[in-house]
């Protein structure tokens, strides 16, 4: 890519992809912004053809003013935080375990990764009906076996249940990335630490964990992006009831259940802002691990 000629040829070749990607991103974004400043209630006869009424920031104030807004932000952050903690901690432990030489390693690794291949809708339904159902669920049987009253998971402990379901889906991803990171650790470093008098707990703390820091950063960043937008799991389990209404679920309700496109669009802009705030925080905390 040295000569003038090859550089301009490269630009020409890349142009279609860049234009397509930009369009893909910019058109929905600008339409969301456009609708968020309009009154747009399709059931009341509003349509693009009739021209939409400009309402300024009314949608924005109404969206924040709703009693559902702050609880939804809280629910979103709780789910994201809970799932991140569970997947990273268990992911590190599972990766350590899977890194041990054992019989049937290949099969076990595939089994561990398996949940990631199950669609979110399906896995949430499986959890809801097979495990968490208060009368027929496996967990209910377990509770009865020990002589206690079964828990109605999705209504009594709705947020923890959702966190459990989503963690189950994302744990393989975390484990996989952390496992490859552990495998790249130089064995001589561990041996050196052993000779230096570090018992296994300290070897983990001073050698393995710092080595994993970059992989953990990547797991946290990627998962956060996806977890901020989880929807299917909530839709098929609680339907947003019992305090599980996340920001993305609230937007869905405003647009499709209340048929208020303008209000939903304003919510969408808030979701973008929230995602950016979270991203900036994460970058501040863990981003420095990506340097060097």
């Amino acid at each position: 890519m040295a000569t003038q000629h090859s550089r301009s040829a490269a630009r020409l070749m890349m142009a279609p992809a860049v234009v397509l990607l930009l369009g893909w991103m910019l058109i929905p974004l600008s339409m969301t912004l456009f609708f968020s400043f309009k009154k747009y209630l399709p059931l009341r006869g509003d349509s693009m053809a009739n021209g939409l009424e400009w309402v300024g920031f009314a949608n924005y104030t109404r969206f924040v003013g709703s009693s559902a807004f702050w609880p939804s932000v809280q629910a979103t952050l709780t789910i994201v935080g809970g799932v991140l903690i569970i997947t990273v901690v268990l992911g590190v432990l599972l990766a350590l375990l899977l890194n041990q030489p054992m019989w049937g390693q290949g099969v076990v690794r595939i089994l561990v990764i398996a949940p990631f291949f199950v669609m979110p809708t399906v896995s949430a339904l499986v959890w809801k009906n097979m495990f968490m159902d208060p009368t027929n669920g496996l967990l209910a049987y377990l509770w009865k076996f020990f002589g206690t009253e079964p828990i109605a998971w999705l209504s009594q402990a709705s947020l923890p249940s959702l966190i459990m379901i989503v963690s189950w889906q994302w744990l393989p991803f975390a484990t996989l990335i952390l496992l490859t990171a552990i495998q790249s650790l130089d064995g001589e470093q561990l041996e050196a630490a052993e000779m230096d008098g570090a018992p296994s707990i300290k070897r983990f703390w001073f050698i393995v964990l710092p080595h994993l820091s970059r992989a953990i950063t990547i797991v946290i960043l990627i998962q956060t992006i996806f977890l901020l937008a989880i929807f299917a799991e909530i839709f098929v389990t609680t339907g947003g009831a019992f305090g599980t209404k996340t920001l993305s679920y609230l937007i869905f309700q405003r647009v499709l259940e209340s048929q208020n496109v303008g209000l939903g669009s304003a919510g969408g802009v808030y979701a973008i802002i929230l995602a950016n705030i979270v991203a900036i925080f994460l970058m501040r905390i863990v981003g420095k691990n990506l340097d060097a």
Binding site: D186, E188, Q189, E191, A192, A193, E194, M195, D196, G197, A198, P199, K202, F206, I207, P210, H211, S213, A292
Partner: protein, 334 residues
């Protein structure tokens, strides 16, 4: 203090025995080098001494006390690894401090030892850098520093210079020898490079397939190799080994003669040959001479000024008093 004794030590990986029963004593303060071709078990032997591998049978004693089942950290040995094994996320200071931190030595003493080690190893200006910002030689020094501050009973080096370029290697070789003179601590050094072994060792242990072929001082090994393997392995360029009728004339199955013990002449001599490639090193010249005596050409050392054209017919005369004789099992005769 640091006398290390191996008693009937064996090591097997599954069904494969890599170290057959082996006895070896390393005296306190000695610089011992394990040398041998790759895969001869020298690194395994070092790791057995370090405790990083469990021995299959036998006993290891350090300073007279049995250390067979003592974990590596408690053996009082420090090891320098081939890859240096520095902790990449810690500064040089923290790397060097790590073993002391694990041992719970107080901060003032830690700093004193770090500063002393840094000064001895020319690392004072680099204490706050990360290993990734250092050159190969500096990393090597950090690894040595990390070993020194523990004040171990013995140092174990696992091919520490093999990742350095040739010039640095010569420098580090001198530094390690210097350090040994200063500290007078037992050192065990593993290498496949017989030059390192010859230049640094008090005692060389030549290994082949886990078996100790010969133990002795560098000059002993050079002057009186116990068998054909040691004869061929120690010394650079290699000793010329000749089998067949020429050896039989000297009542041996194999005779060996070092390149410097053959006189070369264009007019007369015992053996006849043709000059092949000549290597001019300035101080010496090595001629590779094709003769009917052995499949490989004979190597002959001559003075630096000596010049012989490719293809010249020459005569060679071995110095009989420097001839090594070996029997049909490869063992030295007298």
């Amino acid at each position: 203090m640091g006398q290390i004794q191996l008693n009937q030590v064996t090591k097997s990986f599954g069904d494969v025995q890599v170290i057959p029963p082996l006895d070896l004593t390393i005296e306190d303060g000695e610089f011992t080098v394990f040398v041998g071709p790759s895969g001869c078990g020298k690194s395994t032997l070092l790791r057995l001494i370090a405790g990083l591998e469990d021995i299959t049978s036998g006993h290891i004693a350090i300073d007279g006390t049995d250390a067979t089942d003592v974990p590596p950290a408690k053996r009082g040995l420090a090891m320098v690894f081939q890859s240096y094994a520095l902790y990449p996320h810690m500064s040089v200071r923290k790397n060097i401090a790590f073993p002391m931190r694990m041992a719970g030595i107080d901060q003032a003493e830690q700093n004193r030892r770090i500063d002393a080690a840094a000064k001895a190893l020319n690392l004072t200006d680099y204490l706050d850098r990360r290993p990734g910002q250092l050159s190969g030689g500096q990393r090597q020094r950090v690894a040595i520093g990390r070993a020194i501050v523990r004040e171990p009973a013995a140092f174990l080096f696992d091919e520490p210079l093999s990742n350095l370029d040739a010039a640095l290697r010569v420098g580090m070789r001198l530094e390690i020898s210097e350090m040994h003179e200063r500290l007078k601590t037992t050192m065990i050094y593993v290498t496949h490079d017989q030059v390192e072994a010859m230049t640094m060792a008090d005692k060389i242990v030549v290994l082949r397939a886990g078996i100790v072929e010969q133990v002795g001082s560098p000059l002993e090994l050079y002057q009186r190799p116990g068998n054909t393997f040691v004869a061929g392995f120690i010394g650079s360029p290699k000793m010329n080994l000749i089998e067949g009728p020429e050896a039989a004339k000297h009542d041996a199955a194999t005779i060996g003669i070092r390149p410097e013990h053959i006189d070369i002449s264009e007019t007369e001599g015992t053996w006849q040959g043709t000059v092949g490639v000549s290597e001019h090193l300035g101080s010496d010249t090595f001629f590779h001479i094709q003769s009917g005596l052995s499949a490989e050409p004979l190597t002959v050392r001559a003075g630096g000024e000596r010049k012989l054209k490719y293809g010249t017919e020459v005569f060679l005369t071995p110095q009989i008093e420097h001839l090594h004789r070996f029997d049909q099992h490869g063992l030295r005769i007298a």
